[in-house]
Symmetry: D2
Subunit: 310 residues, 4 copies
């Protein structure tokens, strides 16, 4: 493997934008290794810490990047295949962050109620799975790692790694896992790919705002689709075509996801657009990826088995 | 079987409320048969009809009911087990209704754009599944029937059968299917149960606004949980505890669903409330049931395997 | 004056629907007197009460009605002119209701945070205005009474008097005040008008959820516009044409309001529809009427001075 | 006047961020002149143009800046007083942009309906006011210029000049007009102020997405409030304290605005926080500033006459 990309620890990426020097350059078709810190910069190793000291916005969710992809031009699509994700620590971190999460007042959904207390949990990870709490007699949670955050640089904006958007970002979609390919828009020369926020496990919606956060080493293959920029992030698995909508309110995220899925079925797979809409109403699946981030993320999934075969 | 309840065709229920005479009375513990019309009152038998004539609000989605449950008192919960659903027609109806659906302007999300055209599709149903379109070479869609609409009477309100809410109603949640038990609040003497809107198949979100609509005959068992009214509809399956949130915007529906799930884990299953919140963030699943009705419906699901065992 | 309508205290209206006997009948063109209780049924006369005892849903916001209007047929519009509102008590009531309001968790926007404490304030009303708090040295608040709640019966639904909607209801719009005329749809024979929820004063949005609540006696004139049902409540003053949108999320309420205003300018006042849209973008005013009720209410206002004169 | 700042036409600011060289430096307390292009870069001079050529995202709404303020440090507040705004062209531009606006499908609220047609209008501006359309006999519209866009740099992000946010930005609030002072957070050394998007007139909500767009020359005075960063933009006029909330859905914007207003009354003006909440419910005003931008903007206004005097 030509490239082995560690997190640029001196110059972690807290925003996805065109203003940071690439930390590595890769070729279309290249397979390389990339390492990521967890969403807290690997700084939580005990449940006794004060989260207010560790979480100092905007210095949360450091990503590895930008990774420059040779030949990528604005108007292309970057296809990122996740070949492998290895968790590089024997525990995951989860926590309750006051004023962040799906069931509490936040900086967006402001309330006068007193904030929830903080809490930190360390979940031991072993061969057989992840232990929620050594004190509770509940079964191990399967470890199914994925990247919570993956995206490319916007043309001019520099967007917090805490936010998802049309450029990808902090989508917290468990479909961005080994075996699947993510399509991201190329907005600047070299695409500038950012990856981070490994999750050992996560429930749909990531309701408390934090998953089982882990550092990772992954094997990634990038490729280019020239001359067509994906309008919103897409994911392709063996079984599904998936479009991701990132917006608030959540129905706008769902609309973006389904609008793109219907459009995709129509432009690439021969469906009449309104027939695709009607068919989606009968066979699509939806993942609520996150209900906690700066924008909400909804994944609309079309089962490939229903793709028209001529 | 003591009771065989056909739809009261002369007095169909278009609202769920306390103002209509019961069409049948059942006992707690009783198993009975109930028949339902499809959401269009079984009036669509051709793709050449004019939807504007058939869909005249508020006369859409006729339900069978009210069914009076002996002994049900305000403050109880009605537990409705779906034993069986049989589709009683050899085709399902789907359609595109202008100004209704997830990807068009509606009476709520108003736009000045021209409305989409109407369309009607009849999907033949056979032993092996449902055919989307005889002209398209796509695989049969599995038939997995469920009730799109099930609810009890509010105390004073009479709510359109097109709307979901804390009383149940038009949730379009595929989890309300054979084998599962639905908990609904009892707000009036006799509970007054309403059932309808059979679906042969439906994608998550029901994005075009219409599923594969069918008339049905079902076998139902009702029971009472005395002295505790469920705060929002709940569903119990072999594998999941589920809470349904019905609200707009969609994040409010998700919040209601998860709030209830967390509360339920805490009051009935021994979890600390904030620990349940954190655990849900790692293991819960979510179904986006509908993104098209008067309120949106989100189902938060907790895998029973993680229930604490003492 | 022929009709003097007190609140039907034995049979207060807690829902707007077709299921309650009219308490009075009036003629089109008739001017009559109507009395209303405050939103708490006049039951708060001290700041030491326990709100949990007084506020027992759905028994909040009792309205006076239904008032039957002779000759009103479905498809007409009821034009209700507010001639006068007299406050019939020497104090207004305001309070903080835990889990209700714009800046706290509610049954819709669910949070795990502890609820806010309750509080009750009685505001003395005199000739010169309303006193916020005898202990604080702040100027008197002008008394500008209006009806927080006014609506007609839906065709089949019975909607809580706490909710606004296409039928009117709990809009909390200060434009529904003496001198102005409200247009409401007629959905059932006799229209069935409901009025209540007098406010001595209210800020835009009614942010804490409660205004300065008062009982009233009002002078009202009703009339009919035959053969055209207003699609959403409208208000006409000397200076403005106003359309009210009631929905969640709040942008949907704003869209409904502006869609109707633009349509109204186009159908009744000779504007091209898209020109009206563009002109509204330059001269319209908006009142955020409520950000706390079951649906939010937004009033879009077009200054009459810009109406095209031929 | 020491500084006369023209728009840096070779390096217009399309994002507000820390990555662009300052085009001028000013001192705290200094009064200076600043010129701005209109939202379309002054490129529309005829109603016959093709908007698709002119509006090429992200190159819309060019701002003048960054302006470096000596001594500004992260954690301070920049107080920007608008002394004067002069419109420097004899017409304003308005238009309908397909897939942008409050009453049509957009990239966020996606619909399958056909987009609206484009249109451009040039509104002549004279001494007596602005003419909407020479062909329509409607009164002149008063010219009341304000800045649609004003903001400071975030710490790391570079945010499109089309978006409002906690940093200010494209709020489209008519309160940002001569005589008023805007408080903006200082997130980076020098604050980095950006100004643009002059409006000759604008209705509340800016419903079609475009106001009466004009180039301007303004007189501005900046000052610093050391050691306290405003949590969201604030505006102070002779009569009101105002807090601006920028978010989606619109209720979140309203919550942010009122939360800050209540907090401000409590921390700076001696009100008990919950009493301020209750008082706002009786006397506040709200401006819906925009219902069309990347985030919606709501201004909550507290009348200064009710400020507690000791």
């Amino acid at each position: 493997m030509q490239n082995i990309i560690p997190p640029a620890t001196e110059k972690l990426a807290w925003v996805m934008g065109p203003y940071q020097e690439p930390i590595a350059t890769v070729q279309p078709g290249e397979t390389f290794q990339v390492s990521t810190l967890d969403a807290f910069g690997n700084r939580i190793d005990s449940s006794d810490l004060d989260l207010a000291e560790i979480i100092q916005l905007p210095y949360v969710n450091p990503c590895t990047g930008p990774i420059y992809v040779e030949g990528a031009e604005p108007g292309d699509t970057l296809a990122v295949t996740i070949d492998e994700i290895t968790i590089t620590r024997d525990y995951a971190v989860s926590c309750l962050i006051p004023e962040f999460g799906g069931l509490c007042g936040t900086v967006y959904t402001r309330v006068l109620n007193d904030p929830l207390p903080q809490s930190i949990m360390l979940h031991p990870i072993g061969e057989a799975g992840m232990m929620y709490d050594p004190n509770l007699n509940i079964p191990l949670i399967p470890v199914e790692p994925f990247y919570g955050t993956i995206g490319t640089s916007p043309a001019l904006e520099a967007i917090s790694t805490l936010s998802p958007g049309f450029h990808g970002g902090n989508m917290d979609a468990a479909d961005i896992c080994p075996g699947n390919t993510v399509h991201l828009p190329v907005n600047v020369k070299g695409a500038l790919l950012f990856i981070g926020d490994g999750h050992a496990a996560q429930g749909d919606g990531e309701v408390s705002g934090v998953a089982a956060e882990v550092p990772t080493t992954g094997i990634i293959t990038v490729d280019l689709i020239k001359g067509h920029a994906t309008p919103t992030p897409r994911v392709i698995s063996d079984d599904f075509l998936m479009s991701v909508g990132n917006a608030r309110p959540m129905e706008d995220a769902a609309r973006i996801a389904f609008f793109d899925l219907v459009t995709w079925l129509s432009t690439d797979y021969g469906f009449d657009r309104l027939a695709a809409y009607q068919l989606c109403s009968q066979v699509s699946q939806v993942r609520l990826a996150n209900m906690v981030d700066i924008l909400y993320s909804v994944v609309a999934k079309f089962p490939k088995r229903y793709m028209v075969r001529s």
